[in-house]
């Protein structure tokens, strides 16, 4: 079964090293302060290797690939009250 994934950054872990933007400019650009802005669209197969490389090389392990149907990804029963 093909698992659809998207790229996400943990904004608390991220300390703007900037590796991901260098490695994967197809889906990651840097804002004016050097923090990554991630394209949230589902990743097509031909970009998966580049995405995995960017994830593996993040010095803060802040980048990850999330399956789209992870628990809590779509339902938000506990948004701030």
């Amino acid at each position: 079964m093909v698992v659809r994934v998207r790229l996400r950054v943990d904004p608390i872990k991220c300390k703007a090293h900037g590796m991901c933007g260098e490695l994967f400019p197809e889906r990651i650009r840097m804002d004016d302060w050097g923090y990554p802005v991630i394209d949230q669209r589902v990743l097509p197969d031909d970009l998966l290797d580049l995405a995995r490389r960017a994830v593996a090389d993040c010095p803060r392990t802040a980048l990850r690939l999330d399956p789209l149907d992870e628990p809590g990804a779509r339902e938000r029963p506990d948004d701030p009250d």
Binding site: D10, P11, I12, C14, K15, A16, D31, D32, W33, G34, Y35, V37, E70, P71, G72, A73, E75, R76, P77, D78, D79, P80, D81
Partner: protein, 425 residues
Amino acid sequence: MDAADTEQRLLPSRPVPEDLDAHLAAFGPRPRVDSIAMIDALEQSGLRGRGGADFPTGVKWRAVRDHHETRGGDAVVVANAAECEPASFKDRYLLTHRPHLVLDGLEHAAEAVGARRVIIFTTRAHGDVEAGLRAAITERRRRDGIDTFIEVQVGPNRYVVGEETALISRVSGHLAKPKVVPPRPFQSGIDHLPTLVQNVETLAHAALVARFGAAWFRSAGTRRSPGTALLTVSGAVATPGVVEVACDEPVGAIVDRAGGTDGEPAAVLLGGYFGRWVAADRLWNQTIDADSLRSVGATLGTGVLVVAPATMCGISETDRVLTFLAGQSAGQCGPCHVGLPAIADTFHKVATGRARPAALDLLVRWSHDIRGRGACRHPDGAMLFLASAMDVFSADLRHHLKHGACRFSGQPALLPVPATEAGWW
């Protein structure tokens, strides 16, 4: 008295704090309601969270209960009385006048989701509220038949502390800073247990749904926004204060309840500092239900309604609040703790006539850039506020850019910006 028929549902008819005897005289003892029946009634009632997010309460309770049941173990329920919104005091007003209705709702929540740990959370800035709560809890414990042990927990008074994950961090023994979700609180909250965090006004409504039912709850308001709501009305009104209104009442009528406007109104800030400025003439005849407010780009948010007179400088007010919000960042996420001060600083330069015209484009680009990029929604909320100010006060903004302060800039501040408490514990 039949509380079910009055328009004032949450607030007592006389503004006097209600002790347990007065509470029992008004409402009778808290009914025992089966867990499933309680959550069904909440879902049918259409009650939504009154802490700002407007999320369906029944769905939230069910998520905690289901997660807890499938996982086994325990769950935690927290009444959120942090009320860190500077222009809001409706939660404290409710807790001061009807503490037992809130505690009833909290006990219903604990029973419905199966929580053994029951907490009410407030901040050190609200010391009188904390003392009143402790007294009310003691009163209940001395009375036969009311035996739930309710803990009072206190954290720092910072803007983001009322956010669920920040509150959960603090009660779990960490600094009161937001966390990345998922896991969401219903999956893993206080001490990794499924956790329900619910605003105190919402809990008081839930206590009334338990007593009078979903159909009664829906007898006020609209289909999408049923019931009544507590609003904190301030600014250019004759008698600022907390009012309880049906959710289909127009803004103009609500302002009349606060004594009417004091001078010609120019704009209204609705929803708090994550809310929106709206031109007064666009908003005046709108009802406060979600559909009606959405049509003018607003939400009720935390129930803050500030009437701005024509003699107010919207740019100076926005400048102060933006600087406050930038200082309230928990300092965890770059786009928030680096981006917000940069945006606030640039806006301040515009407000004081020390910026180039290109600064406006930069503000627009930056404000879009940082949305959705924090662990919590602090940057998103601040940017909604900023965007609405740049829209509603666009002529004033151009005046400031060119000439600096306007003739109203020196007026006393309309919007409160409290000093920031040191530390996150």
